[in-house]
Symmetry: D2
Subunit: 131 residues, 4 copies
């Protein structure tokens, strides 16, 4: 099912631990911020991203780095469902600064596992995603 359904927004700040030389956010940290946003989506619904051994793992990422986030900046991560399948979900996640400038975006394919085997996304997760 292809779509672009808004899922959540989540804010955080760029701290010392996130920047490298020059006060610029280290590139892989944008992936961390996006993961926090995905987890927070579950927590905000009083759910956990791990339920009865079901959880998601990252399978594929296509990421674009537009502008650097800087030390002290507040950023917003917007998350959208892009494609929903029986065992996987593709999200579009976009990071903006407070002026609305897009700093980073990515398509991320997540696959559902039960223990360590690919599994159908359980009903509990479907309800959380609202699909």
């Amino acid at each position: 099912m292809e779509m672009k359904k808004f899922m959540s927004d989540y804010s955080c700040r760029i701290y010392y631990e996130d920047v490298d030389a020059g006060g610029i956010c280290y590139h892989s940290k944008y992936l961390n911020f996006c993961e926090r946003a995905r987890s927070e989506f579950f927590f905000s619904q009083n759910a956990s991203p791990i339920q009865d051994d079901y959880h998601f793992v990252v399978k594929k990422i296509q990421a674009n780095f537009h502008h650097p986030a800087r030390f002290g900046e507040e950023i917003v991560i917007n998350t959208y469902i892009k494609e929903y399948k029986s065992v996987s979900i593709t999200l579009f996640q976009e990071i903006k600064n407070r002026d609305g400038l897009v700093l980073f975006d990515m398509d991320i394919l997540l696959v559902c596992l039960q223990s360590e085997k690919i599994a159908r996304i359980p009903t509990a997760f479907q309800e959380i995603f609202g699909v």
Copy 2:
């Protein structure tokens, strides 16, 4: 000047990136959370922890790990000024979970640098600390 003056509280959550095997927060991450709390203290006053090349560096830490923080948990970092000197400041930082259980505490000695030399804490920082 010895004291125990409340400085700030700051909350954050334990995400995937913070835990290691067993879903327990990796030990050095508590130091990161405390650093975020210190930076946020400046940001919350529309100031920056770096001003005119002045900033603080960590000189000494005495830390106690009481109980582990777990994946998904929300924690609060309380920060107190313990000792204030002309070129350094000692803080006491304590991390609690939502039930008020103390997970971690430390005394941290921070030294003021201008560029890379030890310097008197400038007036701008004194005002932020309220000392």
Copy 3:
């Protein structure tokens, strides 16, 4: 100039700080390992990835996560030049475990900056890449 020219290999181990719940390497850490491999390529030639304000920034990543790396595992990062242009370079980086199983691969587009402006890759860097 399209090609697939071997650039370097680099090994490291998966430590506590790299894994999350379940003893599985956190997804964004693969990007860190690849970055270490790129920096090490410069260091191994007695050069630095930062020269006279010239350095590279990540512009685009297409990454595939095949199998998880586990706590304690030694991994090898193989780096190849895929495309070389005047202001940018595309690398292919592949992470294998000790049995030769491919765990992760990515195409990464790096753009050369001087200070914060896009710039032609300087001769010093061209010589290091051997192109």
Copy 4:
């Protein structure tokens, strides 16, 4: 049993991910480097720091930050056993740069757990420590 018994040395390099603004190593990363050194001590003896649910957790740290490590620098972590008890071990860990300058040192108290309960250090670990 008080002593100062040499346990291991371990080398690593300071990469982009380790430094913050100014090209200086982020303070909590020294703890990570020391943890890598402790794990590597087990791996170098074909053992794992996790055996039959036994492992160590950090209980107390007293750390001194003498000089900053910089981007690209190679550092050596020397580890010594300082005190050995039935359920805990105190190590002294010291980080030097290639010129032998001490950048960081700490006393670290580690407690042995089986699952999540304090336990006597098992024979397998005693043999690895050589005590």
